[in-house]
């Protein structure tokens, strides 16, 4: 194995790993606090990607800037979805576990809806644009600047959220809900507020991730599901509700997928992803860090 190969895998794997991490952290926020598996997470990524794409191609706005709009828009969608579809159920349900199946089907409906509305409005073609394509050399590997900046933004956002959760009182409440929501409620925390926060921030992170992805991958209405499944693998690896675990899990998965694809052929990329997905769900449901929250 030559050095060039290893360095290429490291650079490419870590950059895509940062994107996986930001997607997974958003998904984990919802799953960790509310036991809701947002299978429509990928659709929000897709919407974010199209936001950045249109703002760039029509108004020539830098995707680094429009990522903010994508995140805000996705956050608003999260708020609306929560208020419209989940707020009343959560208030009346005896336990959040009883909502697991139903909420997954609702998100499934949301996924079908958004994908088809997107195909209807923008067509089902692959789209892409070039921005910041000049190459940067890291450890001897040339890598496009757009990929590096996307990865940097992703990792900074993840770390910022982690610090927020660790250092503020509100963040402490969120972590408490992840550990034991009933006890948190008994201690006088308004869990409704926490849920709104998680929906808005979780969706916003998906929107942001979409804008970042659009900078270096082509986008289309059905791009979301593989990312959702990947993020799901990451949160299992890193532990449910474990934000730092998701970050590390994302980086690991990025490396593994890049390495496997590098030594097979790019055509196998999806197969490799799904095989990892199935193996992890079946054989490692506790994750590599082994902390079971449930």
């Amino acid at each position: 194995m030559e050095f060039g190969n290893i360095s290429a895998i490291l650079v490419m794997g870590l950059t895509i790993g940062c994107i996986y991490a930001v997607i997974a952290v958003g998904l984990n926020l919802l799953y960790g606090t509310m036991r809701m598996l947002n299978i429509a997470h990928g659709s929000i990524i897709m919407l974010g990607a199209y936001t950045a794409y249109w703002l760039f191609t029509i108004y020539n706005i830098s995707p680094l800037f429009s990522a903010i709009f994508a995140a805000l828009g996705a956050g608003v969608i999260g708020l609306v979805v929560y208020k419209l579809l989940f707020a009343s159920d959560i208030r009346t349900a005896k336990s959040l576990e009883s909502l697991e199946g139903a909420s997954l089907l609702i998100f499934f409906g949301l996924l079908i809806l958004t994908e088809n509305v997107a195909s209807l409005s923008w067509g089902a073609d692959f789209r892409g644009y070039s921005y910041l394509t000049n190459a940067l050399t890291i450890w001897g590997t040339p890598v496009a600047l757009n990929r590096v900046s996307a990865a940097l933004i992703a990792i900074v956002v993840c770390l910022a959220l982690y610090i927020f959760l660790q250092r503020t009182l509100f963040g402490k409440a969120v972590r408490a809900v992840i550990q034991d929501k009933d006890a948190t409620q008994l201690a006088g925390v308004d869990t409704g507020k926490i849920y709104i926060f998680c929906f808005v921030v979780g969706f916003a992170m998906a929107g942001l991730a979409g804008a970042l992805i659009s900078m270096f991958y082509s986008i289309h209405p059905f791009m979301g599901l593989p990312y959702t499944l990947m993020a799901f693998v990451v949160i299992i690896l890193g532990g449910l509700g474990n934000i730092l675990g998701s970050l590390v899990g994302g980086l690991i998965l990025g490396l593994v997928i890049t390495a496997v694809v590098a030594y097979t052929t790019p055509g196998f990329s999806f197969i490799v992803q799904y095989v990892i997905f199935i193996v992890v769900i079946l054989f490692m449901p506790q994750g590599i860090f082994g902390r079971r929250v449930r």
Partner: protein
């Protein structure tokens, strides 16, 4: 007439109309009924596992596609219609039991998303297989039987599926499956062999999906991985069953019929509108009508009975 005799009479009438239909109905209605029957087989097959045990499986497309691919493999060598149907069903059934061993230990949302990932995996594998091993994507299947043969064989398969769904529900087996839905730990503690029950109904449900896939491959005459393993098949079947109700076979029959008619009326011309509406329908159903149409009907029926009984008393 007792209510049981009446129900039997209604079913006999429906079956008679269906069986004599090709004698006088125009060809369009036959092809419409062929697609309705296909969806009925898939949706009733789906509830045998997912409706009865509460495990929501999104692997419909995998089993349907596997059935289609048995036809793709066998038909050019040995063009016998009954043979490909049986082979398709058995292949899907065995595949279900095989993957059921590890998968059925997983519960709740994990299981749902695992089955979804599994169908995608099977799709990509068959794509790679076609491109790399066979060198061409897609297969054209020629020399299939006439639409009457398709029609009657689908009626037979649908009838077997419905009867199976009925008997599974009304035996000890069905009782075991419903106890898994209600509380799996308790069922296990009461001595229900949950693993065997789940495996058996998973395999049974895949068997019928495989039958449908094997038949439709010849009907569609062209099969490639995106057609056979189309996730839309899964979406539609799930929504049909939830729309109609998943407690017994009547719900999915109603759901499949209604949704196929809507899809024929406008889904072909406006696929994205149609799918978008299906998405909204699914959300509304889960939120406001979790028992489906049959749930509403039986509630109304019970209310009428109570009102009638009260009138009789007073």
């Amino acid at each position: 007439m007792t209510s049981r005799a009446r129900t039997l009479a209604i079913w006999a009438a429906i079956l008679t109309i269906l069986l004599t239909l090709p004698l006088y109905a125009p060809g369009y209605y036959i092809s419409l009924l062929i697609s309705i029957l296909m969806w009925i087989i898939l949706a009733v097959g789906w509830i045998i596992f997912s409706g009865y045990t509460g495990y929501i499986s999104l692997a419909v497309a995998a089993f349907f596609g596997l059935g289609s691919y048995m036809t793709v493999i066998i038909w050019p060598i040995l063009p016998s219609f009954p043979l490909v149907i049986i082979a398709g069903g058995l292949a899907s059934g065995f595949f279900a039991i095989l993957i059921g061993f590890p998968c059925l230990r997983i519960r709740g949302p994990y299981f749902i998303i695992l089955t979804l990932g599994l169908s995608e995996l099977v799709k990509y594998i068959s794509q790679i297989y076609e491109v790399r091993v066979r060198g061409a994507l897609g297969t054209i299947l020629l020399g299939g039987p006439s639409s009457e043969v398709f029609y009657y064989s689908l009626i037979i398969i649908a009838a077997i599926t419905v009867v199976t769904a009925y008997f599974v529900k009304n035996t000890k087996f069905g009782l075991g499956l419903f106890s898994i839905k209600a509380n799996e730990e308790a069922a296990e503690a009461m001595g229900v062999d949950t693993t065997r029950y789940k495996l058996l109904s998973f395999g049974l449900s895949a068997l019928f999906m495989g039958f449908a896939g094997a038949v439709m491959a010849l009907r569609w005459t062209y099969i490639d991985p995106t057609v056979a393993f189309n996730p839309l098949i899964t979406f539609q079947v799930t929504i049909m069953a939830i729309f109609g109700g998943m407690e017994d076979f009547r719900g999915p029959i109603i759901g499949a019929t209604v949704l196929t008619l809507i899809s024929e009326a406008f889904g072909i011309r406006y696929p994205y509108h149609y799918m978008g509406l299906l998405g909204i329908t699914l959300i509304l159903l889960v939120k406001f009508l979790p028992t489906g149409l049959m749930g509403v009907i039986s509630r109304l029926y019970i209310r009428k009975k109570i009102v009638g009984a009260l009138d009789a008393v007073s």
